[in-house]
Amino acid sequence: MASTQQLKSRIRSVKSTKQITKAMQMVAASKMRRAQEADKAAEPYTHAANELLTYFASQGVTAQHPLFQARKIDTRLLIVVASDKGLAGAYNSNIAKTYINELRDDKKNNVKTKSIAVGRKASQYATRLNHTDILGVYENLPDSPGSSELHAILDTAIKNFTNGDVDAVDVIYTKFISGMVQQVIVKRILPAGFEETEVSTEISSALYEPSVEEVLNGVTYRLVSAQIFQALLDARASEHSMRMMAMKNATDNASELADDLTLEMNKARQSAITQELAEISGGVEALSE
C-alpha cells in the first residue's frame, strides 16, 4: 500500500487537474451558448436566399446559370473544417476520419481531390496527406461574416468551379444538432443547390434591376457564402459543445479519482494508527508479565 505522503500529493495533483478541466468546461459552455446564438441568427438570411432561389427556379432562370451547372465529376474540392485547438473529445478525429474516407472514395472512383483546410488541426492533417492538392490553409478564423478569410475561401471555391478546375465543392464539417448530438456531414455547396421553400412574399412578375443575370449572380453568391458561413458557425458550436462534454467527463473522472484516493488514504492512515496501537498494547502486555 502506498504511503499516506504519496497519496496526499497525488490527491493534490488530481484536484488541481480537476480545477483546470472545470474551468475549461465553463469557458466552453459560455462559448457554446454564444456560438449557438450566432448559428441561429444566420438562419433568416439563408431562409430568405432559399426563398428567392426557389422563386427564380420556378421562373426557369437558374438552369442556365454557371454556378448551377452539374457536370461529370473529375476533380472535387473539399473544404475541411476542424478546430484550432485540441482537447475537444472526438471532434477533430471524427472530421479526420470522414475526410480520409472521402479521399479514399475519390481515389477508388478516379476522382482527383483538392482541399482547403480550415483550422490548425485540419491543416496539420491535410498537409501530411499526399493525394490531395492544398489550395489554401486558414487558421484562427474570426467569426465575422465580412472577414476577408471567408471571402477568400468563397472566391477560391467559386473561381475554381466556374473555370472548370473542379466540378464540385463539398464542405466537411460537424453539424450542430443539439447540445448532446453533433454529426460530421459532407455538404455539397457547388453546383449550387437550394432548399425548396415556400415563397411567401408576393414577388411574382417582379422586375429585375439591373438584369436577371446580375440579380441571380448576387443571390447565388450570397447563398453559397451563407452556406459556408453557416457551416463554419455549426462547426464552432459543435466544437465548443464537444469540448464542454469532454471537459465535463474529465472533471467527473477527476472527482471520482480524488474520492477513491481519499478513501485509500484514510484507510492507510487508519491502518497505520491501528498498527501503532497494537504495538503499544503489545509492549505494555510484555512489560506487565
Binding site: P44, S148, A206, A226
Partner: protein, 140 residues
C-alpha cells in the same frame, strides 16, 4: 409596409416603415408602400429609413450596408446584406482611424490580393464614415 434588414448576424430591422431609401448601382431608389414588385442589387452605401409619414429628415435612421440583394413587393421590403451597422453603433473616431489604416495599406500593397482587400476595406470604412456623418448633421 414591413421592412426587414437581414444580415448573416441576424435581423437588424424588422418593423413597419413609411419609406426606405436604398443605394443601387444606378443611384438611390426610394421605396414607398405599394411599390411595384422588384428584385435588385444593392451596392455598399447608406440605407435611410423613415418610420412615420410625417417624420422630417432629422428623424431618419441610417444603416451602413455592404452590398446585398433587395426584394420589394407590395407590402414588404426585404434587404439581404452581408453586414449592416446602425449609425448609432458606429464610432466616428475609430472608423476614421480604420479608414486611414486601410488607405495606408492600399498604398503599400505589394500584390493584387492585398490591394483588393485594401480597396474593400477603404470602401467599407468610407461608407461607415459617411453614415456616421449623416447622423451627426441631423442631430446637431
Amino acid at each position: 409596409m414591413n421592412l426587414e434588414l437581414i444580415t448573416l448576424l441576424g435581423k437588424k430591422v424588422d418593423q413597419e416603415v413609411y419609406e426606405v431609401i436604398i443605394p443601387t448601382a444606378d443611384g438611390e431608389i426610394a421605396v414607398f408602400p405599394g411599390h411595384e414588385p422588384l428584385v435588385g442589387i444593392a451596392v455598399p452605401g447608406a440605407i435611410a429609413i423613415r418610420t412615420n409619414k410625417g417624420d422630417d429628415d432629422s428623424k431618419l435612421d441610417y444603416y451602413a450596408i455592404s452590398g446585398g440583394v433587395i426584394e420589394i413587393s407590395q407590402k414588404h421590403v426585404r434587404v439581404l446584406v452581408d453586414e449592416a451597422d446602425a449609425s448609432s453603433d458606429i464610432v466616428e473616431a475609430e472608423t476614421k482611424a480604420a479608414l486611414d489604416r486601410a488607405i495606408k495599406m492600399r498604398d503599400s500593397a505589394k500584390n493584387q490580393v492585398e490591394l483588393e482587400k485594401a480597396h474593400e476595406l477603404v470602401d467599407r470604412h468610407t461608407v461607415r464614415l459617411k453614415v456616421a456623418g449623416l447622423r451627426r448633421r441631423h442631430h446637431r
